[in-house]
């Protein structure tokens, strides 16, 4: 695969500099503004975010202009719309949260852009289209839309298209509802661009993008007796190239790869990925921290990456008994697991992502820290998304958490980490070194330093 533009090609470590930050500066964060998902589209020109209030904001990358060649593409708001509203299920006396759990783009096939957004229960297909022309010179109505008096129409004319200010419209094209009893955690568009899957705690359904009144159940792990339930589905994704293959991860730290050609109901897996537990690190919380919060295929389709509470693992699809690489995200938290269990932080679901060339992976941590791991060189960095380091083109300084007694200058101790500042959602531009990091209600954009 071609390396991302200027990725250091060899031994130079990528240096990140601040590009932009979106969102309110207020210390008081409105719950609805908390970003719950971030996703670049296939070209990287559009960046979508979803929040707890059910809104979707799409940013578009500005084209580089000759007049400002140094100002490499900034992202500005392109469209904002309310994707999901809070619902109340009167029969069950349950509130259905409007929080957007996931957004997934469809590949662009015409002038319009399409994306899927989902909350706990309902998936919606949105069409985002531009309108920059307006028809003028109608026969039956005036410019302001009022009907013309018939006797005033003395001649026929052909309406002409005149340019107007760009208007971006978002309209819901499909609503895929009533197929999930439990909470949807993942959606994934298939490489056939015609189907997609949606996964909740116990089931995975396959949809056709054109059909909203029917979906096919392809995985069902609900036991006949709920008292026997010991495992739930935590994430699922289609293979990027093989449209019959998908994976799903579980709360027990396992991943199952399924082939839809082998059976209609994929309860039997084709491959089962599990790393045997290290008995020396066993604790009461071993199972909880092994729960996988995210699974992502590499762009090549040869590897997949899983995120559990303390680490990121890269798996070769041809090797089921252990991952090929394991990266410790914040191992210093292992000795704090009881406190993290007590305050529920141990259940935080961190996501992870690949860069365009699959050479580097990224995931978030606490205190608004996020981590990048270069696979080849085994170099890792801890960076912080903060307002303090938000000067234009300011280079991000690597951060360090002090794990032993003596704290060096600029280091931060484990006890002074802010566990309310968690970076759960990150995204990497599909081709360039531009990353989007969601820090509560703010979206930070960083790009590679260009000399």
């Amino acid at each position: 695969l071609a390396g991302a533009g200027g990725d250091g090609g060899g031994n130079n470590e990528v240096q990140w500099c601040f590009l932009q930050v979106k969102g309110a500066i207020d210390e008081d964060v409105a719950e609805a503004d908390i970003i719950s998902t971030v996703e670049f589209n296939y070209t990287g020109d559009l960046l979508a975010t979803g929040d707890k209030g059910g809104r979707v904001v799409i940013f578009q990358r500005e084209q580089e202009t000759k007049s400002r060649p140094l100002c490499r593409g900034e992202y500005n708001v392109y469209s904002t719309f309310q994707s999901h509203e809070p619902e109340f299920d009167y029969l069950k006396s349950l509130e259905i949260e409007e929080k957007i759990n996931k957004i997934r783009w469809l590949p662009q096939q015409n002038a319009a852009h399409f994306l899927l957004s989902t909350n706990d229960k309902t998936i919606k297909l949105w069409k985002i289209s531009e309108r920059d022309k307006r028809a003028e010179g109608y026969n039956l109505k005036d410019e302001d839309g009022r009907l013309r008096e018939p006797f005033r129409v003395t001649e026929l004319r052909v309406p002409t298209l005149k340019p107007m200010d760009l208007m971006v419209e978002a309209s819901p094209r499909r609503t895929f509802a009533n197929a999930h009893t439990y909470h949807i955690n993942s959606i994934s568009v298939n490489s056939d661009y015609a189907t997609y899957l949606s996964a909740d705690d116990l089931r995975i359904n396959l949809w056709h993008l054109e059909v909203t009144n029917r979906s096919f159940n392809i995985v069902d792990i609900k036991p006949a007796n709920m008292e026997e339930l010991t495992e739930v589905i935590t994430a699922a994704e289609f293979h990027p190239h093989h449209c019959n293959v998908f994976v799903y991860s579980s709360s027990k730290g396992t991943i199952r790869l399924c082939d839809m050609r082998s059976a209609a109901l994929c309860d039997q897996h084709s491959k089962f990925f599990e790393e045997p537990e290290d008995p020396s690190s066993r604790s009461f919380f071993s199972e909880i921290i092994s729960s996988i919060s995210d699974v992502k295929f590499s762009h090549s389709g040869r590897y997949m990456m899983t995120r559990d509470y303390l680490s990121v693992k890269v798996w070769d699809l041809n090797m089921e008994n252990k991952p090929v690489e394991t990266y410790q995200v914040h191992e210093y938290l292992r000795s704090k697991l009881c406190s993290l269990y007590e305050n529920d932080c141990i259940f935080d679901k961190f996501e992870c992502c690949w860069n365009g060339s699959d050479s580097t992976i990224m995931t978030g941590s606490y205190n608004n820290f996020f981590r990048t791991f270069e696979r080849g060189s085994r170099r890792d960095a801890t960076l912080e998304a903060s307002r303090e380091s938000s000067k234009p083109r300011a280079v991000l300084k690597p951060r360090k958490v002090c794990t032993s007694g003596k704290r060096k200058k600029d280091e931060i101790t484990v006890d002074s980490l802010d566990f309310n500042k968690k970076i759960l959602h990150t995204a990497w531009h599909p081709m360039e070194n531009i990353i989007a990091v969601a820090a509560t209600n703010n979206l930070y954009l960083f790009q590679e330093k260009v000399n």
Binding site: Y182, D201, F347
Partner: protein, 283 residues
């Protein structure tokens, strides 16, 4: 802390828990059984808190339930190897939890702690604040906590058709209604105890149903075989969920209680009633 009296506020309990969990993390001298007990208490507290929610988080509930089961298994193995229990004070305490006997009422944690303290003060010195503030729980309570929360999660009207069939009228009732009273005797077979607890929950909720005046309508129908039938969800035809429950709701106007738990119990009964109606119509 102990001088404040037996009944503690929940906030004190929470503060205590936070202090205990950091003690767990930082102290190497804390004995293993104590650490285990602390984790167990935290798990059960969380499960109880979730039980009070209208819609508990399934993922978290399963993880916590598994942790409890793991600890339970460990403790079982230890007690089977050693006749004397390692941690003094893990005494059968089912009788002190009056909260478990009435459905829909959450476990009264503060009073539970208070009662335990009155038991434990005799056994241990009052100088050990960590031990004294731990909530001592019996094995059956753990099983019942797991069972009941997972059963409650199953009340959710499921869109997919259930996989198992309803037992026919020839089946003998599996669990008599007064099973709950014999629980202390069933301690040996704990797996059996879990199932028993499951039926304990349902049989209570069925008796709730019988308190309703609607009983008169079904006077001539023998519903005893369905009283403790909890293993399989009732078979409902694949129609929209709203239809399935709308009719019973119209018939039972008294089912609009303010407590979310009561609505949950009511709904389980309504689906069972629906099933009974199916049988009637079918015959």
């Amino acid at each position: 802390m102990l001088g404040r009296g037996l009944k503690r506020k929940l906030s004190d309990y929470e503060e205590n828990m936070a202090g205990l969990s950091s003690a767990f993390d930082s102290s190497r001298s804390l004995p293993y059984p104590l650490k285990r007990q602390l984790v167990l208490n935290m798990c059960l507290t969380k499960l109880q808190t979730y039980k009070m929610l209208v819609e508990p988080n399934l993922h978290r509930s399963v993880l916590i339930a598994n942790t409890v089961r793991q600890i339970q298994e460990e403790m079982r193995q230890e007690s089977s190897q050693q006749p004397v229990s390692i941690c003094p004070g893990i005494a059968p305490a089912a009788h002190s939890y009056t909260g478990m006997e009435s459905p829909g009422i959450p476990l009264q944690l503060p009073s539970g702690v208070g009662q335990q303290e009155s038991h434990c003060c005799d056994l241990r010195s009052a100088e050990d604040p960590i031990e004294n503030s731990l909530l001592i729980v019996s094995d059956d309570d753990m099983s019942s906590a797991i069972s009941s929360i997972l059963k409650d999660l199953d009340f959710v009207e499921d869109i997919s058709p259930p996989t198992c069939l309803v037992p026919t009228g020839d089946d003998q009732p599996k669990f008599p209604e007064n099973t709950g009273l014999k629980l202390e005797d069933d301690r040996q077979d704990l797996k059996g105890a879990e199932c028993v607890f499951g039926s304990f929950e349902i049989s209570n909720s069925t008796s709730y149903l019988k308190d309703l005046a609607i009983d008169d309508i079904f006077e001539d129908i023998d519903t005893s075989m369905y009283d403790s039938d909890f293993c399989c969800p009732p078979l409902t035809p694949p129609r929209s969920p709203s239809l399935a429950t709308e009719e019973p709701l119209k018939t039972f106007p008294s089912c609009n209680s303010s407590s979310a738990n009561n609505i949950q119990i009511c709904r389980t009964d309504l689906s069972e009633l629906d099933h009974i109606m199916e049988i009637l119509v079918g015959s």
